[in-house]
């Protein structure tokens, strides 16, 4: 393992911001830590970088315990949330900074700066002032600066957080492609699930300083570990249910679940795509309270009598209007019994 955290704990005034976190990152892997703000994900990065001393546990890099190693000797790269480019230096001066600290020769610095600015798509920008850069350009310079000293581990804190949506979607693809090409080991944190799923080989969901779930994007998406993870991923059709055999007893009535589902009192998730609209007399009767256009589909909010709301994904043409009454059936392939 390139990076291992064992029981890493950080407390702020008695509250554990990182609570005995164990995490491994293998070489050439891209790991994304996903969690709401305040879940401790930025503290995790700062602890690995050596900017935040641990109150317990260890950070091990390349098999070496990093306890007592100051930030500037850890040889990891960190891209800050709002970039933190040095305002008094130009683009080239920012990118060359890490090389200078390592005593690289001037020629070496220049060559590497040129190489990296080409890599991030800003050829010839070395003499530009950082204040004159757009958000996307600053982001590229920050990336080039972090990559320049060839860190063994690159960490990204909300790498695309402040950019607008279309730029974000483009950059995420570029980053993924770049890391694949360079074979960089990456540990990123974000609160945006789309970003995490698009970027990562492995996603780690954090909650209140602990790891709630860890797995490939597909695993996490298909089988959220618990109600918290499901809701954080944007699934709202989550209820308590009693599972017996291949059926679950829910506030929405009997719901068929797949073979081999865990039995007993469980949390049950129905993905919006699994909420089928049928004529009123053929299913659970619901009133349409709202609808939101999502481009490829329409999200319809449904209010059953005496049961929690449901969210359904409908095709554009067949979506009902607000106020209509419809029936609902559940597709068992989109019903997940959580552990």
């Amino acid at each position: 393992m390139l990076l291992s955290l064992a029981g890493a704990t950080v407390r702020f005034g008695g509250r554990a911001v990182l609570d005995a976190v164990d995490l491994d990152v293998a070489e050439h892997q891209v790991v994304c830590v996903l969690g709401p703000s305040g879940s401790g994900k930025s503290t995790l990065l700062r602890a690995v970088a050596g900017l935040q001393p641990l109150d317990g546990g260890r950070v091990v890099l390349d098999g070496r315990d990093q306890t007592g190693v100051p930030a500037h000797r850890r040889e990891v790269g960190l891209m800050f949330q709002d970039h933190q480019l040095f305002p008094q230096r130009d683009v080239g001066g920012n990118v060359a900074f890490g090389l200078r600290m390592r005593g690289a020769s001037r020629a070496e610095q220049e060559a590497r700066v040129g190489e990296l600015l080409d890599l991030v798509g800003l050829p010839g920008a070395a003499r530009r002032a950082v204040a004159a850069l757009s958000g996307g350009e600053q982001q590229r310079v920050a990336l080039a600066r972090a990559l320049a000293p060839r860190p063994r581990l690159l960490m990204l804190d909300e790498p695309l957080g402040q950019l607008d949506r279309s730029l974000r979607e483009r950059l995420v693809v570029e980053l993924r492609e770049l890391f694949g090409r360079l074979g960089t080991t990456v540990l990123a944190v974000t609160h945006d699930q789309g970003e995490a799923f698009a970027l990562a080989d492995r996603v780690v969901v954090m909650r209140d300083g602990r790891i709630a779930q860890s797995g490939t994007p597909l695993e996490v998406w298909q089988r959220p570990a618990d109600a918290f993870v499901a809701r954080f991923l944007g699934f709202d059709n989550v209820v308590e249910a009693t599972v017996a055999g291949e059926a679950a007893d829910t506030p929405w009535g009997k719901v068929a679940v797949g073979e081999g589902a865990p039995q007993g009192t469980r949390t049950l998730l129905v993905r919006p795509a699994g909420v089928r609209l049928v004529p009123v007399d053929e299913g659970l009767p619901c009133t349409v309270t709202a609808r939101a256009f999502k481009g490829t589909h329409v999200t319809v909010h449904l209010q059953p009598r005496d049961a929690p709301r449901l969210e359904a994904a409908c095709a554009l043409r067949t979506a009902p209007e607000t106020g209509e009454t419809v029936g609902v059936r559940f597709d068992s392939s989109d019903v997940v019994v959580l552990d």
Binding site: R46, A49, P70, H72, D82, M101
Partner: protein
């Protein structure tokens, strides 16, 4: 951190300890009763009483005169405002000796008022009070006006929209916001006037003596070091108390206020009331600040062919062993050395205080650094005199003694100027540098230094001006063959004769010009970015 602590240990704590020992210890035993003995003397009681009431009166008078000024400079816009604001700040960096001399030229024997109407004030307490107002006008205008200018006028407008009258809106919104700043300024003025030395020394004559002057008199005229030491301790305790109250006031004033760019809150005066106020403030500035300085310059030119200035170059007068003009060179050399020391020590201390994980010890050090600013210069000088003249540290014969004392007085200015700027540097910039491989020292050089270079220059300028005009400490330790400008002025004033008087005026003018020029250069630097507390 280690260097500033060592510096303050050796050059501040130790002298203070030496004073304590000298005052309260004899034959190896402590005599705490000596404090009450000294305080029981009627002339000492008289000095204490005068020190307190003249400080109170000076403070009240300063507030009365300067608060309208604070309003005018904060909220009204008029041509020449920037220049005028710089001008009213000049007195603050002027050496006390120059101020004393200027007022002597205005209200003293043979002064302007004496010539015109036969009015002399130098034998009354009014001369001292007026000089104190002159000095501290800028303190009030800067502290109160500075905040006032940044208060968002829309707060008051919001109160008006909710039905408050103009006066009520001011009373309920603006006044409470200004309160802490007024309190801080009041305490600062009280502190400065309580420890006033040069002004009282020159204008007070034999009649009026503050604690500070009395310490000097006991030391250099009566040679009663024990009494001087006890008085220093009394002064020390009083100043410590004032500073503690000040620190608490400042901490409370750091409440969340809506501040906006000062340039957007001022507007042209409207209505007869505002015009009258503006005229009144401009008139006050002219009479109180410009007139004394103008008279000083005029008096220095009162002999044909710059006679007084030319006399400075000869050593015939017998007052000094060297031509008085050499004091200019001495002063500049000392001030440069003191500035270098103050910037080094103050810069290191500020850097140490900036670190986020500052514990109780470091914060205590922050308060301690302010002590020399309030703890009078005379204490510093007296402490140096009795602590550093014997082994293990015998600096009596060394020229470095004077710059060291001046640096001690200058360090608080450096720290106060640097600290807000250093604290404003985003901590994550430093972290970004650290992660890229910069050691803590490299981080300071690569990140902090470029961002605070301007503040450093301003701090250096302040330290320079303060060192140049430093009188209270220097007068104790400057050697007779190497006087500084303020010491030379005081000595010339102490001698009778037209020529000596004129030479004092001429030297004061030179000193004033040097100080004013360095201050105006600082103002130029500062106007580009607002930094620091002074």
């Amino acid at each position: 951190m280690a260097l500033p602590v060592a510096f303050f240990g050796v050059f501040f704590a130790w002298p203070v300890a030496a004073i304590t020992a000298r005052g309260l210890k004899s034959d190896g035993a402590w005599h705490l009763g000596r404090i009450t003995d000294v305080l029981a003397q009627s002339d000492i009681r008289h000095v204490l009483w005068f020190t307190v009431w003249q400080a109170l009166a000076s403070t009240a008078l300063t507030l009365l005169v300067a608060l309208p000024g604070a309003y005018v400079f904060a909220r009204l816009d008029f041509p020449g405002k920037r220049v005028l604001r710089a001008v009213v700040t000049v007195p603050f960096v002027l050496p006390t000796v120059v101020v004393g001399t200027a007022f002597l030229a205005l209200v003293g024997r043979g002064g302007l008022l004496d010539e015109l109407w036969g009015v002399r004030l130098d034998t009354t307490v009014w001369a001292i009070l007026l000089a104190h107002v002159f000095f501290n006008y800028a303190v009030v205008v800067r502290t109160v006006g500075g905040l006032w200018a940044q208060l968002d006028p829309r707060q008051e407008e919001a109160a008006r929209m909710l039905g408050a009258s103009r006066l009520r809106a001011w009373r309920t919104v603006t006044l409470p916001a200004l309160g802490p700043a007024v309190a801080a300024a009041t305490l600062m003025v009280f502190l400065f006037t309580f420890t006033s030395f040069g002004v009282v020394q020159i204008l007070g004559g034999p009649t009026f003596s503050t604690l500070e002057v009395e310490i000097y008199r006991q030391t250099s005229e009566i040679f009663d070091l024990a009494t001087a030491a006890v008085l220093t301790l009394v002064q020390f305790a009083a100043v410590g108390a004032i500073l503690a109250v000040h620190a608490r006031t400042v901490r409370r004033s750091e409440s969340a206020l809506r501040l906006v760019d000062a340039a957007r809150t001022a507007r042209r005066p409207r209505g007869a009331g505002q015009w009258a106020l503006l005229a009144g403030v401009l008139g006050t500035v002219a009479v109180l600040i410009l007139l004394p300085l103008a008279v000083l310059v005029q008096r220095s030119l009162d002999a044909p062919d710059f006679g007084y200035y030319r006399a400075l170059t000869s050593s015939d007068s017998g007052v000094f062993l060297v031509p008085p003009i050499e004091a200019v060179g001495n002063s500049l050399t000392y001030a440069l050395a003191a500035t270098a020391i103050a910037v080094l020590i103050g810069g290191l201390a500020a850097a140490a205080l900036t670190r986020r994980d500052t514990g109780r010890f470091v914060r205590g050090f922050d308060a301690l650094l302010m002590l020399p600013l309030g703890v009078s210069a005379v204490t510093v000088g007296f402490g140096f005199l009795i602590a550093l003249d014997e082994p293990p540290l015998d600096l009596r014969a060394s020229w470095i003694l004077v710059p060291l004392a001046q640096a001690l007085v200058g360090v608080p200015f450096v720290v106060r100027t640097m600290l807000p700027v250093l604290r404003a540097v985003d901590g994550r910039l430093r972290e970004a540098a650290a992660v890229l491989g910069a050691s803590p020292w490299r981080v300071w050089r690569e990140v902090d230094l470029p961002l605070v270079r301007r503040a450093l220059l301003i701090a250096a300028g302040f330290a320079f001006a303060v060192s140049l005009g430093e009188f209270g400490a220097t007068v104790f330790i400057a050697r007779p063959d190497n006087p500084t400008l303020p010491v030379a002025v005081a000595k010339l004033l102490g001698r009778a004769g037209e020529l000596n008087y004129g030479q004092a005026m001429a030297l004061s003018t030179i000193l004033m010009v040097v100080c004013a020029v360095s201050l105006l250069m600082l103002e130029g630097l500062r106007s580009a970015d607002r930094t620091g507390e002074f």
